[in-house]
């Protein structure tokens, strides 16, 4: 299968100037291909989240360039970036960020309704499909505050999946979960990568988790200091 680059970071640098200038990211360059499951590890404060916010186009004050699907994200307007996030990126945070005013199904549907490519009926059907993949279709009509932490995180993943994004990014998506739920979520990611050819970029502190991905990028003080092929790839090749 031909590998296509979905996201590419080219010499990304970022500094905070409040109150003194601190360089948080220095010349970060890497790329991710279709269907690749990549993890980022590193000590607390090394700039993982900062990098992810830049990659997800939410943070636009950086130097260097970011290519998504071959297109540069530099010099794009706020509304254009919003469209990119909507259509090409799925984000899962440590915290679930579901809207309590909507039920789980509606929460999953919202980004697709915003995309406005399919009819509401088709979107609802797709949302059910995604919830099924995550094994929580029975909770569809409940509200987020009626779910457990792990279930909420799975709804959030379904939401990230709804527009069939190029890449899913996660900032410690299992950080708030116990070992069991964390494993469930991890297996879902792996299944997405292997069965649905979904690209994933996940920041984690869990080294076991990282070791089981295709590739692990290690960061230190805002630099990439290593990139190892993970066990998943080895298994996959076997």
């Amino acid at each position: 299968m031909k590998k296509k680059t979905v996201i590419e970071a080219i010499n990304i640098c970022k500094s905070f100037h409040d109150p003194i200038t601190v360089k948080v990211l220095t010349n970060v360059s890497f790329s991710i291909n279709t269907g690749e499951f990549v993890s980022i590890v590193g000590k607390s404060g090394c700039g993982k989240s900062t990098l992810l916010y830049i990659l997800s186009t939410m943070d636009t004050s950086y130097e260097g360039d970011l290519l998504l699907d071959g297109t540069s994200m530099k010099n794009k307007r706020d509304a254009e970036l919003a469209k990119v996030r909507n259509e090409k990126i799925g984000f899962v945070f440590q915290f679930h960020y579901l809207l309590n005013e909507f039920n789980n199904l509606q929460n999953v549907m919202l980004p697709a309704l915003k995309f406005d490519k399919l009819s509401p009926e088709e979107i609802e059907h797709n949302a059910y499909e995604k919830l099924k993949i995550l094994g929580i279709e029975s909770e569809a009509l409940k509200y987020p505050n009626q779910l457990s932490g792990g279930q909420k995180q799975r709804v959030a993943i379904a939401r990230a999946l709804i527009n069939n994004p190029l890449i899913i990014m996660g900032d410690e998506p299992t950080g708030n979960l116990d070992k069991m739920s964390g494993d469930v979520v991890f297996n879902i990611f792996k299944e997405l990568a292997e069965e649905y050819n979904q690209s994933l970029l996940i920041v984690t502190h869990d080294l076991d988790f990282a070791a089981n991905t295709h590739r692990t990028i290690t960061m230190e003080d805002g630099k990439i200091i290593g990139s190892e092929i993970g066990t998943a790839t080895i298994e996959g090749k076997r």
């Binding site: 997800s56 259509e87 945070f93 915290f95 809207l99 919202l110 915003k114 406005d116």
Partner: protein
């Protein structure tokens, strides 16, 4: 579709804070209700006070004034042409008060397309004789039908009937104040004396009440022909020609034209009653000021609830932005919330305002000087409702503008990092 989605999200946020939203909407409802009730009531009062004068006042009055001639003989003299004339002790011309050629003027006016009607009048200053005492008074000789039609004369005749004035020869409708002083009843005979010393007996057929006490003490009415008889003048003797127009606003320009055309004095209603316009406009201004102040207070209510909502919904805003809603969308969501509060509150306010106006309009209001008014006057002008609606939308829009702007500027990274 996009609008529908935004509306759906706005509604969900509204529902989540139903109580506060209702309080904010009630603020708008209250202020619009008060605004409508206040303006309708003030409008009604203004109309009533104005009609007190306007109903009884011609739009243009043609009359003759005893004035010195504007061109003194010396100005016509060739010998002193170009010189400045000092003339002392100029006296008015010895001229009759009647309008020359009145029949022709009335004829011409009735054919004028601006004119709704013409009512000739002859005013005679008189004394009412009560025993050995003489009360000063003014008798107007009127064309009863024209006066009824143009000046709702019958509304002000509180006892007796205007028909009797027309049908009974040498009859008079007395001002109620004068009648009380003279202790007369309908059917009684009274004597009047003119300034020329002529005595004349008249039969009282009715009482008249204008609502203005000073007027009612002196003013009385007879027919035109009776006055002409009292004065011993011919049928054409008319001192005033009262004109009602279709459109009152052209009165000043028309008055100037008639002044030149008919060579009489012509005064328009705007000039004659300038002080009434001022009174009305000041009252209206005050009601608008109070109404708009109420609305602004309601606007602050909306501003507060939106700010609170945005503060509470930071997470939701952040995730909406992270999942592809632009700043514009977020702005639209919160503006929709503000406008929904404004529109629902405003619409209820209009309905309650109408209700309150109707209620006020039912309260009995009896005053001796206003015989035709039985309850508080209310002006149900559609204009007030339109202004109320427009203002409620504008204030809520302004109240929503800054919070919405703030919401649209929220940086999702800041929120997400903060967790």
């Amino acid at each position: 579709m996009k609008i529908k989605l935004i509306a759906r999200i706005s509604l969900a946020l509204l529902k989540a804070r139903l109580k506060q939203t209702m309080v904010a909407a009630f603020g708008v409802t209250f202020s619009i209700t008060m605004f409508i009730a206040l303006l309708s009531f003030m409008g009604g009062l203004n109309d009533m006070l104005d009609s007190l004068i306007l109903n009884r006042t011609p739009h243009i009055k043609l009359y003759n004034e005893i004035l010195p001639s504007p061109i003194q003989p010396i100005a016509k003299s060739k010998a002193y042409n170009g010189a400045y004339h000092f003339v002392g002790h100029i006296k008015p011309k010895n001229e009759l008060l009647d309008i020359r050629n009145s029949e022709a003027i009335i004829e011409a006016l009735t054919h004028d397309s601006n004119v709704r009607g013409v009512a000739p009048k002859t005013t005679v200053p008189v004394f009412y004789n009560v025993g050995s005492i003489n009360l000063t008074g003014v008798v107007d000789g009127i064309d009863v039908d024209a006066e009824n039609r143009l000046f709702t004369f019958q509304d002000y005749v509180v006892e007796g009937n205007t028909i009797d004035l027309k049908n009974t020869p040498n009859s008079i409708i007395l001002g109620i104040g004068a009648a009380r002083k003279m202790l007369v009843q309908i059917g009684d005979k009274i004597q009047i004396t003119t300034s020329a010393g002529i005595r004349f007996p008249l039969k009282v057929v009715g009482f008249f009440q204008s609502g203005i006490d000073e007027v009612d003490k002196v003013q009385s009415y007879t027919t035109l022909s009776t006055t002409q008889k009292i004065l011993g003048k011919p049928n054409s003797y008319v001192t005033d020609i009262q004109i009602k127009l279709f459109d009152m606003t052209v009165a000043p320009s028309l008055a100037k034209r008639y002044h030149n055309l008919f060579e009489t004095e012509a005064i328009d209603i705007q000039t004659a009653n300038a002080q009434f316009e001022t009174g009305s406009s000041v009252r209206t201004l005050i009601s608008y000021a109070v109404g708009i102040t109420l609305l602004i207070v309601a606007g602050f209510g909306i501003y507060n609830i939106l700010n609170m909502m945005i503060y509470e919904k930071m997470d939701s805003i952040a995730i909406l932005k992270a999942t592809g809603f632009s700043g514009k969308d977020v702005n639209a969501i919160f503006l929709t919330i503000a406008l929904t509060i404004g529109c629902i509150g405003g619409a209820l306010g209009l309905i309650f305002g109408l209700g309150l106006s109707v209620l006020i309009g039912e309260i009995p209001f009896n005053t001796a000087s206003l015989p035709t008014v039985k309850t508080y006057p209310i002006n149900y002008d559609l204009k007030f409702y339109l202004i109320g609606a427009v203002f409620s939308v504008i204030t809520t829009y302004l109240a929503g503008y800054f919070p919405s702007k703030k919401a649209s500027r929220i940086d999702p990274v800041d929120i997400i990092r903060g967790k």
